[in-house]
């Protein structure tokens, strides 16, 4: 099963200050462990929302609002994509992350990712296969 493991934003991540070097070091070690275990499919950090924007959709209209955005709890600071056997396994790994040994509060949200086959109730076999091959091509392209 695939899960998106979302690190929520915080005052610190939004300030854009350099990350605590010890946390960076510990996170690097944690990531190495995750990678060795074959868990990590992808991972990335995000710049503060001051470098971002929001686009609101209402019918056919689009409104753009520049960052920064103030509600850190609504923001994402980074994420992993993991391949694990269950939500419980994902939770187990998150509990072992360096956040547990560092001062301050952090929040991580774990969400299951849709596979194309999950859409079987609403799409035909053919439509699903089309999506699966479009995805495969995307992964191939992205890695070039």
């Amino acid at each position: 099963m695939r899960f998106m493991v979302i690190v929520k934003g915080s005052k610190e991540s939004e300030e854009g200050a350099p990350p605590d070097p010890q946390l960076m070091h510990d996170m690097g070690k944690f990531n190495e462990e995750l990678i060795k275990a074959g868990v990590v499919l992808a991972m990335d950090g995000l710049h503060p929302s001051s470098k971002g924007a929001r686009v609101k959709f209402s019918g056919k209209s689009r409104t753009v609002v520049d960052g920064p955005f103030t509600e850190a709890k609504e923001l994402i600071a980074g994420f992993w994509l993991w391949q694990v056997k269950s939500l419980d396994e994902a939770i187990g790994w998150v509990k072992r992350s360096p956040f547990s040994s560092h001062a301050g509060d952090s929040e991580v949200e774990i969400r299951q990712v849709f596979e194309m086959e999950d859409f079987a109730p609403v799409l035909s076999e053919e439509q699903i296969e089309h999506k699966v091959s479009a995805r495969a091509e995307l992964v191939g392209q992205a890695k070039k």
Partner: protein, 146 residues
């Protein structure tokens, strides 16, 4: 530059056992294919409702696990994609052309710049950066700045 395009959830998208509307799925599929052909789309994923998820809160040395579902729709995301473009403005232009995920109502998408390992140059040595770049290159679904 890489940007993450984050699709915010709605009460409808987060209903337990909710599946996206098939027409929307197909429209999004067409839009994603257009982006893919233009070499702009690097990744795209949809997230299942929060009833299948959990949160882990860390406070000092303690951590608390809370099972979904979660109710504050404004804090939730329904999916994301990663785009390779020249600027935030270009990312915004592509996003404005996306199908409205909530045809009957209001939808919101957030566009955020993704850190490249080179951005850590003030903090890490060239060698450390290259180590990180190599570690990522081996990941099955990792996207990278072209």
């Amino acid at each position: 530059m890489r940007f993450m395009v984050i699709v915010k959830a709605t009460p409808e998208s987060d209903k337990e056992a909710a599946l996206p509307d098939p027409e929307l799925l197909l429209e999004m599929g067409k839009y994603n294919e257009e982006l893919g052909k233009a070499g702009i789309l690097l990744a795209a994923e949809g997230l299942q409702p929060t009833s299948k998820g959990a949160r882990v809160k860390f406070s000092g040395k303690s951590c608390t696990v809370t099972d979904g579902p979660f109710t504050e729709a404004k804090e939730l995301i329904a999916g994301f994609s990663i785009l390779q473009v020249k600027s935030l403005e270009e990312a915004i232009e592509w996003v404005k052309r996306a199908p409205n995920c909530c045809p009957g109502g209001e939808g919101e998408v957030e566009v955020r710049q993704v850190f490249e390992m080179e951005d850590f140059a003030p903090l890490l040595t060239e060698e450390q950066i290259q180590h990180k770049v190599r570690a990522r290159a081996g990941l099955p679904n990792q996207t990278a700045n072209k």
